[in-house]
Each structure stands twice: as C-alpha cells, then as structure tokens.
C-alpha cells in the first residue's frame, strides 16, 4: 500500500518542487531495489491531480514498471492526463529532455486507472479496502480511508476545510482510524479571509485595466486558473467591464469541459446556479492568440506556464515588462531558476539571452489563493474523524512541531511528524471478533457479575480454537473433546535440602505440624503412604544412607497452585522450628 505524496524532490520542510533542479523523479529503489514494484505494492492511490501528487505516475507505471491497480476519482482521472501532458511538454520544451515519459506512456498509464466514487468502498484485494471522501482543495480531490481488517489509516492528500468560490469543504465521517495522515501546509497559520484576498485581487486588476494597462496572470493549465476565471467573469459582469480577458492555452478548453462535466463535485452555490447557467461557460473569457499581445489598450491574459520559465507566459512577460502601467500577478510558488522567482524577489533587471537585459518596470504582485486547510481546519478534521494517532506531513518542521503539541494537548493522542525517509511505528489494538460458546458464556454468567455490556470490556477465560479461518472461544473441556485431545497435567517440582536429625517419617510429621500452624485456613493432609498434601501440592521426604541427617524435601505442585508452591518452598528452605 502506498499513498502518494510529493513525488518530486522535497526540501527539508517537505514542500514539493514540481520543477526540481534536475527534473528527476522519486527514487523508487528505496521501495525495492530490483524495480519489481508490483510485487511490493498492492495499489497506488492518487488523491488529486496536482503534479506534486501525480507527476511521477507515468514514470512509475510505464518506466519503472509498476503494473498494479491505480486508484483516483473520476475527475482526477479525467484531468490528470491534461496536467501530465502539460508537464511533459514544458519539460521537453525547456531542455529537449529525451529521457522523459511520452504521451503514449501517459495514455497507457491512465488506462490502468480504476476510478473511485465518493463514499464507495472498493475492495482492492482479499484484505485491503479503500474509501474516498470529499477533500475540497481542487476539483476531484479526495481523502482516502485505507482499511485492512479492523485497522485503518486515513490519508488526507491536500484538503480544505472552508468552501471556496467553486468547491465545498472537506468532509469525513467519524471513522476513528488508527492513524490520520494529514497535510500541514498551513500548520500554524490562521488564514485571513479569502474574501479579502479576492477583493484585493479584483481591485488590483481593475485599477490596472482602468489606467489602460495590461494584466498577465501566469498559471498552470488548471485548478487555480478556473477559480480566478470565475472571479473575474462575475466581476466583469457586475461592473459591466469591456476590457478583454484571454486564456492563452488550448488545454483549458478541455479543462473547462471537465469542470462542466463534474459539476456535482463543485460547491452548492455553483450547482444551484447551474440551472440558469454553467459557471464554467465563460462569457467574457476568450481564447488568446499570440498576436493579441501587441494590441493596444487594456487586457487581462491568463497564460501558461505558471513560473514564467518558458513558452507563452514568458513571451508575453517580455513584451509587457517595460511598461509601468502593466501588471503581472503571480498566484503561486516559483522555484529558483525561473523568471517568476526572480521578479518575486524584487529583481528589476533581468538578464536575457545574449547578455541583453530586460528592465522590469511593470508592477509585480503575489497573491496566494491556495486551498489548504489551516491550523483551525486541521483541528476540525481531527474532531470529525477522531483518529487514535496523528501523523503530519507536507509542512515545515518548526510549524509542525507547534501543531503537534497542540494536537497532543487537545486530543490526548500521539502525533508524529517523521522526516522524509524516517520510519514511524504505531501500536494499534486490532479488535479481532471471536465467537464464544454458549456453555462458556453460561458458566461465566453463573459466576455472577454484571450482564454483558458492549461498553464495558470484561476478561473471560477459555480456550481459543483457530480453525478454518475462524476463531472460537470455548471451555477447555469442550476444546479437548472437539479436538480429540487428552488433557496433560503440568507439575512443577522443587527440592529443598535441610538438616534434621530425625527419621524421614518424623521429619515429614514435623513438616505437617509446621504447615498446620502456618497455613491455618488450608486443608492439610498427612497421608499414610509418606506424603503431606496441601491443595495440589505433594511433599515427600527422602534421605541418603551416607548422610541420614541431610533430608531432601520434594515438593511438587500443579500450575494452578504456582503461588502457594513457591511460598512453601521458600518457607521450608528457612528450616523447621526446633
């Protein structure tokens, strides 16, 4: 079983970088060195379509050779190949990478995907079952409960506990998993209202357009882009604005198609308005042609890729960077080695090819619209699911430490935050259902005590028979009878040596008297055949001809009288009263 998270190289904080320095994929040799992943993994689960969750999937299935089932929700299955294709094209475009997965590989990989419905339990094999829950975050994102027998783990992927413009909030039932693995991107942040950020965004775009400037919004092919589109579309409609809005990539047409198709995955508001019009059918947003970039007058353009490191978005940026009336809005993280990273760092002169420089006069804005649960949201999810243990991933160590303490205090459960490559062991108490024989139950009842109650666990003694994959608790007698076995008695023996200048018989008599005085409540017998018996304990005395005063006292007792037997042996070692 292998819940996927962050395929690409992660930094110490666990943040994933889609475009890492070398563009290399996860090293699957840590799972198995000989590449036979199918033998090691029962299935692969993809929580949502973002590339830090699915970017290495075709590599894993088509190049490393994983041939087992891959699970994801219907929208993820539909949208995932669009992003993978985009990722592949950008990588190949940038470097002419040849050792990268191909379109055919993406397709072959998607053919292996088994789609999941929300709340539907899917039996992966005899022992393993999985169930998906709504996670918000992006269209089709799911949290997954993974269950083997009575033990279960919930893996959240990325989730959002507050509904946004197009998606609802994450939800899970009180499934009480043994372990809840949660992302903790905003472990200590209580995020300011998204409304404020949206208002800010619209204000900035509006102001720029009003003064005749052009606004460039570099985005990945989908996800955030759709949310911003809805935002602008509604605003344009309300304000009756005329400046054109363009979307630069052909990929989006298909993406919008899927957003329309999977409208049931969006939030209630969008579903409601669907009767009048589909929110993803944009009236104001049109396809972009490269020649439009030189058109005079204001416009807003969404262009890929999101980090301004190649292709259309970079081309438009170069054209517009010199004019202070224009604006670029970066709605996401940019890795080092991209123009996006540079301008976010405030660099005003960019070196271009052939030692040419580009003056960045346009306004650079950074706006975060990411849909992750904040500290409050994470606590809310724990309250919902009531896990027995908690594991935090996908966050910064220091912030996670803070949240970990908070969780442990408030919920009194163990919280773990292993670094990449570290193993955490968690103790679970699997409940194993066992049938009890009626006879044993009756006997137990006869002994008195309260009636059986599911909420009050009680200890019961019996013999456990494991046969044909079933477990039954029966009385020892019944077990013997059923299995055709005869009972064996287990006795403990012990020798105690003591000096006693009497005959063996007298010594035994003295022992009898001594015990009578010590163990007043016990029945003690002196049997004529030369033994003293206390409960199941048998005591004999022997001595050798050479040394008649050295008596060897032989004690023997059964398992039930273990305590008494030990007591007597200690007692006799001290000697007899004179």
């Amino acid at each position: 079983m292998f819940p996927f998270h962050s395929d690409f190289r992660q930094d110490a904080a666990g943040k994933a970088f889609v475009f890492s320095k070398t563009g290399q994929f996860s090293d699957f040799s840590y799972i198995t060195q000989n590449g036979r992943l199918t033998e090691f993994l029962d299935c692969v689960i993809i929580s949502h379509f973002h590339l830090d969750h699915c970017g290495a999937l075709p590599y894993m299935s088509e190049m490393v050779g994983y041939d087992g089932p891959i699970y994801m929700t219907h929208p993820t299955k539909a949208i995932c190949p669009i992003l993978l294709e985009d990722f592949r094209k950008i990588t190949v475009d940038k470097k002419g990478e040849t050792n990268f997965f191909t379109s055919q590989m993406i397709k072959d990989c998607m053919k292996k995907v088994v789609p999941l419905n929300l709340h539907q339990t899917v039996q992966v094999d005899e022992e393993l079952e999985i169930k998906a829950y709504y996670a918000g975050h992006v269209l089709g994102a799911a949290m997954v409960q993974i269950k083997v027998g009575s033990e279960s783990v919930v893996y959240t992927g990325d989730y959002n506990m507050t509904p946004d413009r197009h998606l609802g909030a994450a939800w899970i039932d009180k499934c009480r998993p043994d372990l809840l693995i949660s992302e903790s991107t905003y472990a200590t942040t209580i995020r300011d209202s998204k409304r404020c950020r949206e208002r800010d965004f619209l204000k900035k775009v509006h102001e720029t357009v009003e003064r005749g400037g052009k606004v460039l919004i570099p985005v990945f092919a989908l996800g955030r882009a759709q949310e911003l589109c809805i935002l602008l579309e509604t605003f344009w409609e309300r304000m009756n604005l005329k400046a054109p809005i363009y979307f630069s990539t052909g990929l989006t047409e298909k993406a919008n198609h899927y957003y329309k198709l999977f409208i049931t995955w969006t939030n209630q508001k969008i579903r409601k308005t669907f009767v009048q019009r589909n929110m993803f059918e944009f009236k104001h947003i049109k396809a972009f042609d490269r020649s439009y970039a030189d058109n005079p007058g204001p416009m807003v353009v969404f262009a890929t890729p999101g980090m301004l490191h190649a292709g259309q978005s970079l081309l438009i940026f170069k054209k517009w960077a010199g004019n202070e009336k224009n604006m670029v809005i970066m709605p996401g993280y940019c890795v080092q080695g991209t123009v996006g990273h540079k301008i976010l760092n405030g660099q005003k002169k960019l070196e271009m090819e052939g030692r040419a420089t580009l003056d960045v006069k346009l306004q650079v804005e950074y706006m975060s619209f990411s849909a992750h649960a904040d500290a409050k949201g994470i606590m809310q999810l724990i309250r919902m699911a009531e896990p027995r243990n908690m594991l935090l991933v996908h966050g910064e160590a220091k912030k996670m430490e803070f949240l970990k303490d908070k969780i442990e205090q408030e919920f009194s459960i163990s919280c773990y935050m292993p670094a990449n490559g570290e193993t955490t062991s968690i103790v679970t108490n699997p409940s194993v259902p066992v049938d009890i024989s009626l006879n044993l139950l009756k006997r137990e009842m006869a002994l008195g005590g309260p009636l059986p109650d599911a909420k009050r666990p009680r200890t019961m003694h019996g013999t456990l028979i494991m046969k044909d994959n079933s477990l039954r608790l029966v009385s020892p007698e019944q077990a013997l009878k059923e299995l055709g076995l005869s009972e064996h008695q287990l006795r403990f023996t012990c020798r105690v040596q003591l000096h006693d200048p009497h005959s063996d018989n007298d010594t035994l008599g003295r022992i009898y008297t001594h015990l009578k005085s010590v163990l007043k409540t016990y029945s003690i017998q002196h049997v004529p055949d030369g033994t003293v018996i206390v409960e199941s304990i048998v005591i004999k005395v022997t001595s050798s001809a050479e040394e008649p005063n050295l008596k060897v006292i032989l004690l023997s007792w059964s398992y039930q009288d273990e305590e008494l037997g030990s007591f007597l042996s200690t007692l006799l070692k001290k000697g007899l009263p004179s």
Partner: protein
C-alpha cells in the same frame, strides 16, 4: 561566467553564514554545490581555497555558530568534504584544525542539530566527497569516525542509513585500492602492507557486519545484509573473501531459519555473491546456501525463493532447474488431474486453499514462467506442452469454466474473475509464443483468447493484455487459415469492442488493429478482409469518437489501413478510403479541440509521404496540412508538421517519383523548380514562422531545416533569384526579417561612411531601406542561422538557471525583506 560568479562569492558566503537570514530553498543550495563540484573538477582545488579565503571563513563561522540552520550546516558539511578532496586542500583545512571542528560530531549534538536527518546526511556526504586520498582516510580512521558511521548505518532515516552503507563500502574499497597498499599486489595480498589503524578500521567494519547478522534485532540484520550485498557487488579481493569467511556462519543460520521477511534481502546477498569469485570455491558454500533457501520444496517460503532464484542471471544450471520445478508446482497443482494428487505436498495444498496465498503463488508461478520463456529456457523434466496446457486451463478457470475433473475446487472459486491472475496468465501465454513445439496448441490458444475478447466481464486491462497475446501469436507463426480466423472470428469481436462503453477498450482495440495492419503489411488477403468485413467503415466512424485519445488511435489505424491499401490502388474501395480519410482527417486537423488527434493526423501524412505510393494523391492536401499544422497552438503539432516538411524536402530534392521531373533541364533548374514548388506549398512560411516561435524545439527544428536549405542554395550557383522572391510584409516572420535586414544595412552603411566609401553596390542597397520582397537566398543570409542554432541547443532557461543567476537570486532574496508566503499547489 565563472569570474563573475567568483566575484559574487564573498557576498553569497556572508548571506549564507548569517544566522538571521532564512536559508535559500534546498534546490538553490544543491545547485550551488553542483557549481562548486564543477569548478573543483575543472581547476586545482587548492587554487580555489587560496584565492577565495571567504570559503574558509564561511565554513569556520558556520561551525562556530550555535544558531546555524540545519540546511546551511548540511550544505557546509558537504562543501567542506568537496573542498578537502585533495591532499593540498586538506592540508589548508587542517592548519587551523578546522576540519576536525567541522566533522566533530559532538559539536552538533550539543545544539540538537544532529537530530536533524539532513545534518547527519550532510555529514556522511561530506566524508564521502572528501574520501579521494589517503589523508582523508587517515582523518576518518584517526578521529574515530568509523564508529559514528557504523552507528548511522542503523539510523532511523532511510536515506542516512543508505548513505552510511555507501560510505562504508567506499572506505573498504579505498583501503584495498592499489594506491593504498604501497604498490604491492592487491589481490591475495595480506593487509600487512596497510597502516595498522587502517587494518583495524577495516576489521571494525567487518566485525560490525558479522555482529549485525548475528543480531536478534530484525532491522539491524537487514542493514547488515544490505551492507554485505553492497560489499559483494562493489568491492574486490581480499575484502570479499575475508568478509565472507566471517559472515558465513551467521548467514547459514539466517538462511536455515527461513524467515519470510529476510528472503528478498538474503537472495540479493547471494545474487551479489554469484557475481564474485566466491562462487567457484566450494568452501564458500554460495550454491549450497542458495539450495538451502529452496529447502526440499516443503516450506512455505520456498516458492518465493524459487521465484527469485529463477530470475537470477548467473544462477548455476542445476539450481535453476530445481527452482523451476518448485515454482511451477502451484501452476501444475491447480491444473493437474486427480491421479497426481499424492505428489503434491501438504504446504502447497494449504497455501492454495487460501485465496490470498493462492493468487500470489499462481502469479509468482506464471511470471517466473514468462521470465523463463523470454530466454527461451529449455525445460527438461516437464514438457512445455503440458505447461502451456496448464496456463490455458488456468485462464479458462479464471473466466469461470470449471474443468470436468478438478483437484482443487477451492482454487477454482478463488480464481473466477480474478483480474490479477488473468493479466499475468495472458502475459505468460504471449511469452510462450517463442516455443515452436506448441504450435499444435494454437487452436486452443486462440480459442481461449477469443473467449476473453468476447466475454462481457473482461476488464479493460485484461483485454489489453489479450490483444498483446493475440498479436504475439499471430506474428510468431502465420498459419494457413490465419485470414479465415481474422475475418471470421477476430474482426466481428473487434468491431464490437470498438463500440465498447469504456474508452480504454476502444483505444486498445484500435491500437491492436494498427499493430496488426503494420505486422501484416503487404498481405493482400488481409487488406481485402479489412475492406470486405466492413472494418474500414468502423475505423472511419471511430474518427468521430468522443474521447481524444481514441480519435488519435483511430487516425493512426486509418492511416495504417490506407498505407496497406495503397499497394492495391486498383481497387475502387481503396481510393474511396483515401478520399474519405483525407476529408475527415483535415477536419480533425482544423477543428479538433485536442492535440493528440491533430498530432496523429500530421504523423499519418508523414508516414504516407514516406511511402512512395500515395504522393500524387496527397498533393492537394499538403499545403493545407502545412499551414494548419504550422499555426497550431500545440507546439508538438508544429514539430510534427516540420517533420512532414523535412520528408517533403527530402522526397522532392532526391530522386523519387515525386521529384520535379523536367527531362533535359539542368540540375539548377530542377532545384529552382523544387523551391518554387515549396513556395507554393507554403513551406517557407512554415519554416520562417516556426523559426520565431516561442517554443524552443520548434525553432530548433525549423532552424536545422533552414540551414540545410541554405547549404543547398549556396551549393547551387546559378539560381534564378527572381523566381524565388518572398513577400516579407504583413506577416510575423517577415517583420523580424525586415528588422534584421535593416539593422544589417544600417551597420553596413555606417561602416561605409566611416571608410568614406560611397557609390558601391552595397550603398545602393542601403538606400532601399524598407523592402517588400526579398529573395530566399538573401533571407537565409540575413538571418544568422548558425548563431541562432547555437543558442537554440541551449536549454530555454539557461540564462535564469545559470550559476551567476543563482547567486544573484540568493543575494536579492536576502535584500528583499518582505517574505512571500510560499504557496503550494
């Protein structure tokens, strides 16, 4: 560039060493380290340290600080190791005792930094970087660092433990390398020529392995085994045999204990041992141990061992046979007749009665069989005939056919509808097609495969595997009634499958038809069957499928069908097919919203053009394809269009039916006519537009083609330039050409003015300033194609991703106080 970087280095060091600054992300630090590595490999390291005193200052200040960030410390450790990789550098470090300070593990322990896995990993990597010379080894041994490394071998971080193992192997290897043993003969030489502390270091490591293997702690045993297999595969003598002698006893204990969780690692150890001289010496018991792993086939774990042993490359033959016999048991057991019951062992019987273990055993059995078939393994004790029959029976059981006499009715119920076994069985059946001995089973084989194709319950992935198996069996041995089978049995099923609700199935079916058509290319009977069975019209209707992937596969299938039919153009139906295909494909190229089908269309044209039969028929569509493909918003469609253009150029300019034929005319005239033809096709528009595209691969390809064209025009002396004039106004590339043209003219003019030259031809040209028409050879000269080509071979982000840019980023991030909240997608 490096001198620029070196001038920025002191400032960067200051920023990195400043504990108040938050460290750059780890990709930046790694890139910086890469740059140091490159610099170090290029120059003498000593020079770097001497000329850049800031480096030593940086390292020492990081080590002194108690508030260093773990990321910076990890980086510093790695860097120090890298910079101390030569003896001279090490000496520089050692002067002030800095090296000991850096790698003094206790120092980090004080401020809990050692708790951070990245610090431990940096520490190991640093030592690994440094271990290039004797002094480094002396430093490690002399400061008791071996002990720490051995501790880290059992680290809770997988990465740290793995790195520790690598370092230990490196140390062992280094100890026995020729430069360490004073030039004496290494192989077989005793360790006496080594320094005593080194001898003790190597025995410390080896003892640790022995101790780990004898441990009761499972993770420790695993780590010990991992180190052992690394030593076996990476080290030479005398390390291998010395260590092996010591570990043999605990290893034997582990093997005989037969713990399930150790099997994989034990086999890896033994596999590594197989590749060493240990194998040939019986006292080292390599073969014996492997045999012991198999046992007598009566242990639960023996099947897993057998499956692994079958796959070993250098496995002794006897052992392989034994493993093969064992691993085939589950398969035979499930599908044998009752009389063989007494031979079947109890353990296997029990395993087969449980669903999970039954499925896993059968899959091991099947995949091992497939593996053996790939090498065309010669089975001895058991006939390939009976094995194949077993596979067939198993596949039938999976699809619910209960055999009349069945040994394991339990197994049968486990197998019904089990996709895992079906997929594995079909793969194996396909692999078995290499054995000619079983050709007589073909009827049964195709029977089973057809059943799978017909069954409504077949999973999409199972159907894909079925197609692969069918293809392998058809291709391996065409049989007399093949066509009969294809048109009567196969095609009706395929037609049904092309209407399947699942796009995955429709796509796999179309891919299969394409592959089949390619494989049977030239078989007129097959082509005829394609047409007469109505398959062609189903293919054509698939071009309008709702799923883009399927449309693309349909385009490829139709393309292949047209190619196959082109050999028999006399048939009316064939030319009709081409006409219809052209209409629909052009519609896809101009209207389809997805890139895959559009790419497929251009690729189909390219493949048609490569064949010589269709060329004249395509002439009318070619210019449309070039113009539509060249202006597509998917740059890969443009790339494929350029590939089409390349084929067109080759075909036209070389001797082929399509080459411009004008008997009696000179070569120059023919070339000119070819260029005119290109112009009419819109080929130049395509090439020049693509040259200024915003996607690098498109520009690169266009540039390469234009360079080729330039060479040809330069070689042809008497070109009639007037016939090859291109209009450079009103289009994007034209503006760019004109701009460059003017720039060049201005440059020339200013040179002329300064030289006082007037009235020359060039001077007259300069007067033209803006021109509408320029001849092709002139344009090719104006553009600095060589310069462009050189730039285009570089990655499109080479400027922003350069070391200098990296340093500037680190510096500007430090000045930029406002923190951006990192937003993860």
């Amino acid at each position: 560039m490096d001198s620029d970087c070196l001038s920025l280095l002191p400032a960067v060091c200051l920023v990195l060493a400043d504990p108040k600054q938050s460290p750059p992300d780890d990709t930046s630090l790694e890139k910086l380290l890469d740059w140091f590595k490159e610099l170090h490999s290029q120059s003498d390291g000593q020079v770097l340290l001497q000329h850049q005193p800031c480096l030593l200052e940086f390292i020492s200040s990081v080590c002194m600080s108690k508030t260093t960030d773990p990321a910076i410390l990890s980086f510093t450790l790695k860097l120090t190791g890298l910079l101390a990789a030569t003896t001279q550098e090490l000496h520089l470090f050692d002067e002030g005792g800095l090296l000991v300070n850096v790698f003094e593990r206790e120092a980090w322990g004080v401020c809990d930094l050692w708790e951070d896995a990245s610090v431990r990993s940096g520490w190991l990597q640093g030592l690994l970087n440094m271990l290039k010379h004797q002094q480094a080894l002396g430093f490690i041994c002399g400061n008791g660092l071996i002990k720490v490394i051995l501790q880290l071998q059992n680290d809770r971080s997988l990465f740290v433990a793995c790195l520790a193992n690598q370092l230990l192997v490196h140390i062992l290897n280094f100890l026995t390398s020729p430069n360490m043993t004073n030039g004496s003969d290494v192989v077989g030489s005793s360790e006496s020529s080594l320094r005593p502390d080194w001898v003790s270091a190597s025995s410390e490591i080896m003892n640790a392995v022995v101790e780990a293997l004898s441990s009761e702690d499972h993770p420790q045993v695993l780590q010990g085994l991992r180190l052992l297999s690394l030593v076996l595969s990476k080290c030479g003598e005398p390390i291998i045999s010395t260590l092996w002698k010591d570990v043999l006893v605990p290893l034997e204990v582990l093997v005989n204990r037969g713990s399930e969780s150790l099997i994989q690692t034990l086999i890896t150890v033994l596999e590594a041992a197989l590749g060493t001289p240990l194998l040939s010496q019986s006292e080292y018991k390599v073969e014996e141990l492997l045999e012991a792993m198999l046992g007598d086939g009566n242990r639960k774990e023996c099947f897993h061992c057998a499956a692994l042993i079958v796959k070993l490359e250098k496995c002794p033959e006897v052992l392989k046979r034994k493993a093969t016999d064992i691993i085939l048991l589950p398969l035979q057991c499930v599908s044998t007749q009752p009389q063989a019951e007494k031979e079947i062992n109890v353990v296997l019987k029990e395993q087969l009665s449980q669903k999970a273990s039954c499925i896993s055993l059968l899959m091991q059995s099947l995949s091992s069989l497939a593996q053996l078939a790939h090498t065309k393994y010669l089975f001895e004790d058991i006939s390939i005939h009976s094995i194949t029959s077993s596979v067939l029976l198993l596949l039938r059981m999976c699809s619910g056919h209960c055999p009349t006499s069945l040994l394991h009715s339990n197994a049968f119920t486990h197998l019904i509808g089990c996709c895992k076994v079906q997929r594995c069985g079909l793969d194996t059946l396909g692999a078995l097609s290499v054995y000619e001995e079983i050709l007589d089973l073909r009827k049964d084989i195709f029977g089973v495969l057809l059943d799978y194709l017909q069954s409504p319950d077949s999973h999409a992935t199972v159907l894909k595997k079925t197609f692969q198996a069918v293809k392998r069996w058809i291709v391996c041995s065409p049989f007399p009634d093949l066509l009969q089978f294809i048109s009567h049995d196969l095609f009706p099923v395929l037609e049904k499958r092309m209407c399947d609700l699942r796009w995955e199935v429709r796509d796999s079916t179309l891919e299969f038809i394409t592959q089949l058509t390619t494989a049977l290319n030239g078989n007129s009977g097959f082509t005829e069957a394609l047409h007469t069975s109505g398959m062609v019209s189903v293919l054509l209707s698939s071009l309008a499928d709702a799923e883009g992937y399927v449309r693309a596969s349909a385009v490829a299938a139709v393309g292949e069908a047209v190619t196959a039919s082109s050999h028999q153009m006399v048939l009316v139906s064939n030319s009709k097919l081409l006409d219809e295909a052209l209409v629909q494909m052009m519609a896809i190229l101009s209207q389809d919203t997805e890139g895959f089908p559009r790419r497929a269309v251009v690729q189909a044209f390219t493949s048609w053009l490569k064949g010589s039969h269709l060329i004249t028929a395509l002439e009318l569509s070619l210019s449309s394809v070039l113009s539509l493909g060249g202006s597509d918003f998917d740059w890969e469609v443009k790339m494929h269009t350029l590939e089409l253009a390349e084929v067109l150029m080759e075909k036209t300019l070389t001797c082929c039916p399509y080459a411009v034929q004008n008997f009696g005319s000179s070569e120059e005239t023919r070339f000119t006519q070819a260029l005119i033809k290109f112009k009419n096709f819109g080929l130049f528009d395509l090439l020049f537009n693509s040259l200024f595209d915003c996607d690098r691969p498109v520009c690169e390809k266009a540039c390469a083609l234009l360079v080729k064209l330039r060479t040809l025009t330069a070689e042809t002396a008497d070109l009639d330039n007037s016939l090859l004039v291109l209009n450079v106004c009103g289009n994007r590339w034209g503006d760019e050409v004109q701009r460059r043209y003017l720039n060049k003219q201005q440059a020339k003019a200013s040179v002329s003015v300064t030289n006082g030259v007037t009235g020359s031809d060039e001077g007259t040209d300069c007067g033209l300033h803006c021109t509408k028409d320029i001849s092709l050879p002139k344009i090719l000269q104006i553009l600095d194609l060589d310069d462009m080509q050189r730039m285009l071979t570089l990655s499109s982000d080479h400027v922003v991703n350069s070391p200098r840019s990296l340093m500037e980023d680190i510096l500007s991030a430090a000045q930029h106080s406002e923190e951006n909240i990192v937003d993860c997608y």
